[in-house]
Amino acid sequence: MRFLKVVLALFVLAGLGFGGFLVFAHRPAIEAAAAPRPDWFDDALVARGAELAAIGNCSSCHTVEGGPALAGGRALRTPFGTIYGTNITPDPDTGIGRWPKEAFARAMRDGVDRAGEHLYPAFPYDHFTRLTDRDIDALYAYLMTRTPVHDTAPANDLPFPLGFRPLLAGWKLLFFRPGRFEPDASATAEVNHGAYLVESLAHCGACHTPRNALGAEETERRFAGGTSDGWIAPALTTRNPAPVPWTAEALARYLKQGFDRHHGAASGPMIEVARNLSRVPDQDVAAMARYVAQSVGEPSRERAEAARSLLAELAEPGPASTTGTAGAAAPGRDPIYAGACGGCHDAAREIVHALPLSLVTAARLDSPANLLRAVLEGVHPRDRTAGPLMPGFDGALTDEQIVQVTQHVRTAIAGEPAWDDVAGMLRRIRTGDASDSGGDAR
């Protein structure tokens, strides 16, 4: 009897605990409002909202490639399952048309939708919580003046029990720290503006900061490097391995134009970031670049010296520059490298502007993922209708040759120790099983 009583008591306690948790996790619904009319909003506010939405990269998750803007449905593959971006057009039934501004602000700052459901942190409210009231207003004005699209995103594909949203209240308790941005009194206005944009709306850390086992950013390792959609997002700290250290000016060019001549083209998920930032005023991008450059820090004297000599070496016309398109092998050069890569990357062909591979960050990362992806898929410009900057070599080269040429760039050109298991990474990329791209990336 005594045993039964204990079991009963435990059940009651567990039930109370669960009930208590549900009470703790509960958020009230916010009543639906009439869909706002576009002429309710000030034009200047809508225009600033458009710029802010570009900085926030909203369309990257909320627009299907080639589909109607912001209507949702884009699949975001995470290590926990697939989450679909929702429809954030002002459609009253399937979008956010009947969300009053308080509901929008609560979603952005607390990760709770109008109905009171907790949102998955794939939606970066851990960053958006830092936004000012004014910017929330502008984003709301922008979204509410878009063309409504009647469409519902597919249901998320998450393993049990992650589909149970009240659990997210526990996640938030552990990892989510709501609150507005606090400027640094000792920093310049420009750096503070950049810090505000980078840490809130632009949510750079969502990819460039590593995440823990439960998918939360490890805030004490801010910008130490992370992953995004199978690509490595390099560290934005002193550990950034770019052969020519980043400066605020180079970063601003790269962010705004998608290309910098000492660092190459934005690739993978960063293409869309650059595409969006091309529509943002220069002073916003410059401020973001200034703040990120401060995070990257001044290079050590050795690194700065190494970069100077690398650039000086490249400025001298070497024997490779005379080979033109024929890709004739310089002694010791891998013939596949020389014919497939050297014709552009080693030749002084003004028309091509191919980055010398000694300057490529992808060859200096701990994981070969980015370099492999560039070889496989090519390098693409921001303009979707333009041809590739570099063609993909998938099919032209066998997998064995792709591994060989990737390793050649790593060792003979970047001068780094060979990567382990490039073939394994290539296999994982091919099977779509490389979402983490090789663990602790930088």
Binding site: A326, A328, R333, I336, G339, G343, P391, F393, G395, A396
Partner: protein
């Protein structure tokens, strides 16, 4: 010495192994079908097939090709007996200056061998990589659709020109 298998025939070539296939085809083997357009994989005029896939021969070194099946436009048929892809391009009069056409045909051939049921959008997407400065795109599109019909009615997605070159 590198041995290449081109349109089913083995060739020993003496060019430097780093030489892109295009120059070996044209300069050493006298196969002038593949064209030099840009020389850096941007225009598609040099497209050939390797192991069934369309590749830019101007950036594919012969060192990468021993033991692999290379097919050029000469492998699709002959003047007397054009293959279905060639037949369709003639029937649709898809060439204006014609410089891009061998590359177009080879990329389209690779698509239809892989997906004989390819529809208009598939063809548009797949041929994106090949440029035509004359602007005959609509005719090229029609020609590839016609080739797909011809191949489907022949009941064979990848006819070898030697045996099935004549289209009935």
């Amino acid at each position: 010495m590198i041995t290449l298998t081109i349109n089913g025939t083995r060739h020993d070539v003496s060019s430097d192994p780093a030489t892109p296939l295009l120059y070996v085809l044209r300069d050493e083997l006298g196969l002038h079908g593949a064209k030099y357009g840009c020389g850096f994989g941007q225009c598609g005029a040099c497209t050939v097939m390797v192991d069934g896939r369309a590749v830019y021969s101007c950036v594919t070194p012969v060192a990468a090709l021993p033991g692999r099946e290379i097919k050029t436009v000469e492998g699709l048929g002959t003047i007397d007996s054009p293959g279905p892809m060639q037949r369709a391009f003639m029937d649709e009069q898809a060439a204006q200056c014609g410089y891009c056409i061998p590359g177009m045909m080879m990329r389209a051939q690779a698509l239809l061998e892989q997906n004989p049921a390819a529809g208009e959008q598939d063809i548009r997407d797949h041929l994106q990589a090949n440029l035509c400065r004359c602007g005959t795109h609509m005719r090229i599109l029609a020609a590839v659709q016609r080739a797909a019909d011809l191949m489907r009615s022949a009941g064979d997605g990848g006819p070898s020109p030697v045996t099935t070159g004549a289209v009935r």
